[in-house]
């Protein structure tokens, strides 16, 4: 595989490629490289969080717990749980940035924006997150069933309030609209009938699923044209029997992994592969082996999500994910805080990441993290003092330590400036910007790297 194809493959399945990885991979065939990606992601390593000192919080219903502990102690535990969710946000980002199971983590991130959920109960949230990771490359039907049983989702979409005598439609609606079929592939009646099938689906305080028979509607339902005494699993089976479901997921996948602008022919091809057995790994292998995946029109055309942007910088100089507060601030400013989606539809992605505010922040991000917010600009030999003046006032917020700087030197400073440009910037450079960079080339690779990461082209992958 050539270098450009490799960079493309590793940006879409991960967060870029180091020169060492490129050097080791160019000799291998496409199939070998793709196999390596899946081999590396075979293992499932759940995120672990220290959950000691919570007492009975994870095995007693809230009302009983409140009575036993008193309001104040109860609220303390609740706040502690919320704080732990913020900790999980940080742990998750660190895992994305440092895990060897790169593809699995990229897929987990993808699924987290399909099965969108938000919860401030740490145990339930952690379980939910690890469920995404476990099924990320597995069978889609099993995945949907696991998600539908998770405490976080049962709460988030009010299915814990979905009872035979008064069904709550929220989960049934979003299951079809956002998780599986998309609008237009089911009717309002289907929503009502599906809601009945999920009545009584609930969870225990420890997050385990439980079907409360007395609250479950046992009567016959008519769903997507079929009649039967359906339960929740039957509804999911009937949904994935629809080809529209395979197409819906493949379209989401295509936008995320290939191109925000969809090619109908390619979607049809993927849908046919996926519909056979809903095996996610088979589908992904097919995608990364397809010739069209590597076509120039699909390379460097996707606007990076804030997480992709941050982790991409981290892969060049591993200094991004050091302080929880800082990382929270960065996520907030760019509009993507993991575990805190804006709403159940998730982040729309691509151009929706960009407005004048967020773009300027994103352009500034590499210099902010790596270089005291400074981007070298020396029109050869002139003006040196002027720009130093300009930056003098800036406070140091982020810092790069020696070890992190050494990482960059080891991996990147041996390559030529031209090579560095090819490695860091995926799309073809804008003509004027390329000329400008020529005219303002700094001495060190590090400063040049920062310049390259500060041009609009770096926003794309």
């Amino acid at each position: 595989m050539n270098q450009r194809e490799l960079i493309h493959l590793h940006w879409r399945t991960g967060f870029g490629a180091t020169p060492a990885l490129i050097a080791a991979s160019t000799k291998l065939s496409r199939e070998n490289n793709v196999n390596l990606l899946f081999d590396a992601s075979k293992k499932i390593e759940p995120i672990q969080i220290d959950l000691s000192d919570f007492g009975d919080y994870f095995n007693t219903p809230y009302t009983k717990l409140k009575k036993n502990l008193g309001e104040q102690k109860f609220q303390k535990l609740r706040q502690k749980s919320q704080k732990k969710v913020r900790e999980l946000n940080f742990s998750w980002l660190k895992k994305i940035a440092n895990s060897d199971q790169v593809l699995r983590e990229k897929m987990t991130l993808f699924w987290a924006n399909i099965f969108v959920c938000r919860d401030n109960h740490i145990l339930h949230t952690l379980k939910f997150n690890n469920t995404l990771r476990t099924h990320a490359l597995g069978n889609f039907g099993d995945f949907v069933k696991a998600i539908s049983r998770s405490a976080s989702m049962l709460k988030y979409l009010n299915n814990n309030r979905n009872f035979k005598k008064k069904p709550n439609e929220n989960f049934a609606r979003e299951l079809m609209e956002l998780f599986t079929l998309g609008i237009g592939n089911y009717s309002e009646t289907d929503v009502k009938e599906a809601a009945r099938a999920f009545t009584g689906w609930n969870f225990k305080p420890n997050g385990e699923f439980i079907l409360r028979d007395a609250r479950h509607d046992q009567n016959s339902k008519i769903f997507l044209g079929e009649t039967g005494n359906f339960g929740g699993d039957d509804i999911i089976e009937l949904i994935i029997k629809q080809k529209a479901c395979a197409e819906f997921i493949c379209t989401k996948l295509y936008r995320y992994f290939v191109n925000p602008f969809v090619d109908k022919e390619h979607i049809r091809e993927l849908t046919d592969v996926f519909y056979k057995d809903y095996n996610i790994e088979t589908l992904m292998r097919h995608l990364f082996m397809a010739d069209w995946f590597y076509e120039e029109k699909n390379v460097g055309v996707k606007i990076k999500s804030p997480v992709e942007l941050m982790v991409g910088i981290h892969k060049v100089v591993p200094s991004v994910f050091k302080k929880q507060r800082q990382v929270q601030y960065l996520q907030k400013m760019m509009g993507q805080t993991l575990l805190y989606p804006v709403n159940v539809a998730g982040w729309k992605g691509d151009r929706y990441w960009i407005d004048s505010n967020s773009l300027m922040f994103r352009l500034k991000l590499p210099s902010l993290i790596l270089n005291n917010a400074k981007i070298s600009l020396k029109p050869k030999g002139e003006f040196e003092d002027t720009f130093d003046e300009f930056y003098k006032e800036k406070k140091q917020r982020f810092s790069v330590d020696e070890k992190e700087r050494a990482y960059f030197e080891t991996h990147y400073s041996k390559v030529s400036f031209n090579e560095l440009k090819e490695l860091l910037v995926v799309p073809r450079l804008d003509y004027d910007t390329s000329e400008m960079l020529e005219a303002h080339q700094p001495q060190s690779s590090f400063q040049y790297g920062i310049q390259l990461m500060s041009i609009p082209e770096y926003q794309l992958c």
Partner: protein, 396 residues
Amino acid sequence: MKRRDFLIKSSMASSAVLVPSFMKAFENLDPTLLGYKKLVVIQLSGGNDGLNTIIPYRNDLYYSNRPGISIPKNKLIDIDGELGLNENLAPLKSLYDKGYVSIINNVGYPNPSRSHFRSTDIWHTASSASAYLDSGWMGRYIDQYGKKPYSGIEVDDSLSLILKGTTINGVATKDAKKMFNNAKTPFFSKVLETQTEAHLSEHNLGYLYKTMVGAKSSAKYIYETSKTTTSTQSYPNNPFAKQLKTTAEFINSKLDTKVYYVSMGGFDTHANQANRHTRLLKTYSEAMEIFVKDLEASDSFKDTLILTFSEFGRRVQQNAAGGTDHGAANNLFVIGKNLKKPGIYNDSPDLSNLDKNGDLHYTIDFRSVYATLLDQWLDASHSKVLGNSFNTLNFI
């Protein structure tokens, strides 16, 4: 070269020789295109329960459908012997008594979507329930009538669909100073100075460059124009009130922005809504009263109109969790000084004639409200912005 010489040179350069023509497009503008009137659009996100906001308290069906969450007659503020305001809307009532408020009932659209996202998209894009548009109606208005990104401002961290146009987007900012400081980084100025139009494509890269150009000139303009205006009113301490305060400062500084958009979240009250919903209304109405006072103090209220909407109302019948599920038609408020028909604009909701989901039917298409605002307030042609002709109403 000495610093002083450099400064002189660079200031000349940036104002004359080196400004590319496509950047000038944002700066040269025919002022006759723009009137001086402002529109502030506020969304109560999540689906405000209109029936517990403007309460049809003479209607027994209201009480029989909502045994657990209805507002009793002695806990509301009567307005016309038939409808009453939620008691936490007292600040709104004082505006109402001055003739500043028009309440329009039963606003919606055919085949209503009960999805937040879809229905918000429909309200933002002004599309029908079956069409999918990727630009917002306020975005298209600034495309055609404002021409500059800062013609429309969302007072928030990120920009919503409502302010995305087909050729330009509005600006999202809660803090003009921060935005300005970031945009004046020398490296970015250099990138833009050397840029020529020829290489900008319609693809994502061209989009990024264009957004960068717009961001830089807008940041400078918004900050420099608004920096001297600071509100003297004391707003409540919450994010929504803060957003309105910033909006008032922008308007009072005579910023050449035509339309503003602010959203307030939390209205998706599926469970235990009673206390939560009234608290939200309190937050809304308290901030709104100060906002109007702030505008009046600077004599800009007469030129400002405020529309408050929500993406849908909620179901007439409560659910088992002491909340309400997603509904359809809803009421909305227009707040301004010179309303043609202050008070209740049209008939109360008909609770005896519901659709098959048990939701209210609409009697006024929301695009008629937009059409009225565009034609009669913003001096625009509504069919150009909305893509179709709609009946206009009679509230301004």
